[in-house]
Every structure is written in C-alpha cells, then in structure tokens.
Symmetry: C2
C-alpha cells in the first residue's frame, strides 16, 4: 500500500494500459526500479480534497515540485525535481493502488468507460503536437507510424483539416484508421520527391528520422515523438541548409484529450487488443512485447 503525503490522493486502480515506454523500462530505460505503469483509470479512496473522494480519475504523470525554475515558468512537466509515475522515483499503475498529487488528477466524465479513459494519457501526448505548433488547414502533413500512439496522433491531426498522409506498416493499422475515416499508405506508396510542410515521427524506428527529413520541404517542421534507444547519425548540414525546424514532443495536456474522448471525436475502443487481470501481469507484458495488435490492458476490478 503506497504512502499518501499531504496534497496527494490515494487511488484504487481500475484499469491500466501497457505502453512502449513500459516495455523499454523492463529493458533498462531510465534505470527505473519500482512498479511501472503510467496509463490508468482509478477511484480516489483517500484525499485531503473531499471533492475528489469517490471520484473516477485519471492522472498526469509528472509530479512537479512547484518551486524550481521550470515550475515558476509554468512548465511543471519539465520540473527539475519531478517524479514521474511508474517511470522515475514514483511507483506506478500496475498495482492495486497508487498515489498522485491532487493537482495531477482529472475527473473522468461519467459517460466515458474505463477502457476509453485509459487512453487519456497517450491521447494527451498526441494533443501536445497541436498545442505546440499551429498546423493550418492548408498544411500538408506526413505522419510516420500508425501504431497505438500514431493512430491517436492521426485523429488529432485530422481535426485540423490539414491534408494528412499517414504511413502505416500493417493492415490492422490501416483498417483501424479507415474506421476513423483516415486513409493511410504503405511506405513504398509515397512518391519520391513528395514533400510536406510537417512530418511527425512516431514509428519508433530510427530509419524513419531520415525518411521524415527527406519528405520535408525547406523550412518545414519535424515533430519528434519517438525516443530511440541509441544515438543516431544525423546530417545536420541538411537541417541547416533547408532551415528545418525540429521539435521534440513528449507528454501533453489532459483536458483536451478528455474533451475529445467525451465528444467522440477521437475513437479509441477498437485500439484495445486484450484484457488481462493484474495476476496475469507477466503474461500481459509478454503479449505486448511480442507485438499485440493494439493496447494491452490490465484490469484490477
């Protein structure tokens, strides 16, 4: 049972989702030791804030100190002293209980299912893109990668009415996108020399970095969602000569993610692959590692 500090809530976990970062953590990413898991829905059992008790919540994963230089400029997710749920210095969601600061919690609208709400965190990461850059309805955008995160990004980008090209790898990815009204292409279907105003790299494959640069117009913007395990070789001169803008993009805002799930403008249900119990946690991870078709979910209760 995790210990609740003042200003924190104790949350009984209902559902948790396995993300690629969790798998990377089992391989040594962040040198993290502790309970992983950072996508969840749960119910607040104890809190100093009585309005939260009994409420179904999901939560932002970066817990800021509130006083450092980054916190002072309202960049709590980059807090120098932060803990991060299931990733750094704070036990995570693959457990019966977790604790998070009250300020990290978001109450889930009643009509939203637990399964849908567990996508709030990755969907927020997708919304970070349109929160950081102005993608115009007249822009041409290339999205590389249509996995779990990619398919959420595709739906967020579609909202801008930009001319969107999604590069998918597997038939189940293009089938799901079709359900969302989004056409996709396979890598060999993008004409040589075709260029875009924006490229978003969310495939996790290092080769996609250079592919993205190749298909970017001069003064275009590359948005990096993928973290690669190793350093990769980059042609910096090409970035300078073409005055490319590269933007690293990580966690994002929960409020618009919950709004989009609530109003149905982003679909997530068909993305759920399989549901396991917490006791079956290792089996669930094995399934996710082997490459589940969608998100593997762990249900506690």
């Amino acid at each position: 049972m995790p210990e609740r500090k003042p200003g924190e809530s104790l949350i009984k976990v209902i559902l948790s989702g396995i993300c690629r970062t969790d798998i990377e953590i089992t391989r040594g990413y962040m040198n993290y030791t502790g309970i992983p898991g950072h996508e969840f829905t749960g119910v607040v059992e104890e809190s100093d804030n009585s309005e939260l008790i009994g409420k179904r919540v999901t939560g932002e994963i970066n817990c800021p100190c509130g006083i450092c230089a980054m916190c002072r400029i309202n960049q709590g997710k980059h807090c120098f002293n932060r803990t991060t749920l299931g990733i750094f210095g704070r036990n995570g969601a693959f457990a019966e209980y977790l604790v998070l600061p009250d300020e990290c919690l978001h109450i889930i609208p009643e009509h939203l299912s637990d399964e849908e709400a567990v996508f709030t965190e990755p969907l927020a990461a997708a919304f970070e893109i349109t929160d950081s850059v102005h993608i115009k309805p007249t822009d041409e955008v290339l999205l590389i990668g249509a996995g779990k995160l990619g398919s959420l990004i595709a739906q967020v980008l579609k909202k801008t009415s930009c001319k969107l090209t999604v590069m998918a790898k597997h038939k189940n990815q293009s089938d799901f996108l079709k359900e969302c009204g989004i056409d996709s292409v396979y890598p060999d279907q993008i004409p040589h020399g075709k260029i875009f105003d924006y490229a978003v790299e969310s495939s996790g494959v290092p080769a996609s970095f250079n592919l993205a640069i190749e298909h970017l117009r001069p003064r275009g913007t590359l948005i990096m969602k993928s973290t690669y395990h190793n350093n990769i070789k980059v042609n910096i001169s090409a970035l300078v000569v073409n005055e490319v803008r590269l933007i690293g993009s990580r966690c994002g805002p929960f409020a618009p993610a919950l709004r989009a799930l609530s109003d149905g403008s982003v679909k997530v249900k068909p993305l759920i692959s399989d549901v396991y119990t917490l006791d079956e946690g290792l089996k669930a991870f094995e399934h996710a590692v082997k490459g589940a078709k969608g998100k593997v979910i762990i249900r506690n209760c």
Copy 2:
C-alpha cells in the same frame, strides 16, 4: 566576361571576402565547379534598370526562379531551381565581373566603405536568427563560437539586450568582442549544469552540438548555424524528453544588415585580417586556410 541575361546586372567587383564555405568548396563541398566567392561589393556597369547603373552594390546570393512552390510562398532563398552565387550553378565574386538578378542587389549607402559593406552577406546570416525567433530581453543566450560569423552574431544578439554568454576560443576573438562591449568566456568557464533559454552553435565544430544541448533548458531552442562535413551522432531521445526545439538557420535579410552597418551598431572593421589583390588569390586562400585572425579580403581595384 560573364553573360548578362535580361533582368540581370553586370557588376564590376571591387572587393570580395573569403568565407569558410569557400574553403569547404575547394575541398569538394556542394561538388561545385566554377568561380567561387559570394561576399562582395561592386559597381553596376550594365543593367536593364537604369537606376542601378553606376551604383555601388552588394547582393543576395540565392537567385530564385520566381515560379516554383517555394518562390510562390515568398521563400526564394529556398527556391527549388535556384542558383547560388559562387556556390551552385553561378560563377562567383573572385573575378573581375559577376552577374546577379537586379532583385538580388542592394545599393550601399555612400558613407559605408567597401570594406564594411563586404560584411553585409555574413551579417545578414546573423540577422536571420532574430528574424526567425523572438529572443526576448529577459532570455539567457549561449553563443558557441566567436569566429568571423560568431562575432557578428554576438553583436546582433547583443541588440536584443538578452543576457548573452559568448564562448570564445582565442584571445583575438575575446579582444575584438571586448571592443564591441561584449564579454566572452572560454569553454571551461561555463559552470557545469548552467542552462540557457537559447543556444546558438556557430563554431563549426561537431562537439559543440552536444555541448549546446547540455547547456539548454527544457523547451529551450538550439539555433544551428554550423554545417558539419559529416553526419554526427545525436541523442534524439534527449531532444524529445526535454522537448528541445532545433532551428536550422542559413542566409538572412540584407536590409537590416545594411542598416546596422550604416548606423554603426554592428562593428566589422577590426574583423578584416589582410587584403590581397585578385592576382594574389591563391595566396589569399592559403592564408585563410591556415587560419587568418579575421576575414581575408581580395581587392580588385
């Protein structure tokens, strides 16, 4: 004698400057064959535009087609069909004459010397930084590299009244900056862990890329002025986790460069190292390659 096409002016070169790009070209950069040289002052001898004839000019080096997709969005310097003076598809300034489109030419104010005006092109490249991003008076900025371009960038950054730290390598660099009222430090004088809102890399040394990233705050901006000959290894994950913004930056606007030279707010005279005649061109290059203290100039007349 170069051939003048309609819309182009024939210019008698007075002065030209040797830039690092010229040296890279002699080593095979851009696979360019032809007359190098892209920093110049000259006098228009022939033109369809009678107002230009007899005028002392300098010129933008990218000659756009005017009809391609980049030209249509007013990005002529990224024109897909461009020629670039002394760099790509167009003979350059280490000659008695050159031709450039009229639209590339800028008349040099009378009180500006030929020697000062030859710095317009590199100074414009420095102004590209403040033309691309909003560096605020409250920002902390690290400039890595105080060579010929770096010392111009330092003066442009100083105009923003930001808190500027310039990393110099040689005493003559810090001496010149001191004349401009700018303090500089040597690399080992920047405290470990010190972070900046912006880092500008203009040293040309690949190791400076990682140094810049190290000293950048989360969500900070790295402005890349250096082109490296080879691909370099980059930790992309660090850029993503810290949501760093990287901006490639090349040629810039001539008008503000001429204004700053005219009003004396940017100093260039002490940057001139040695003056050679065109006949002594090879000797001038040898001097520049060996590492002149400042800019090596070739004077025709």
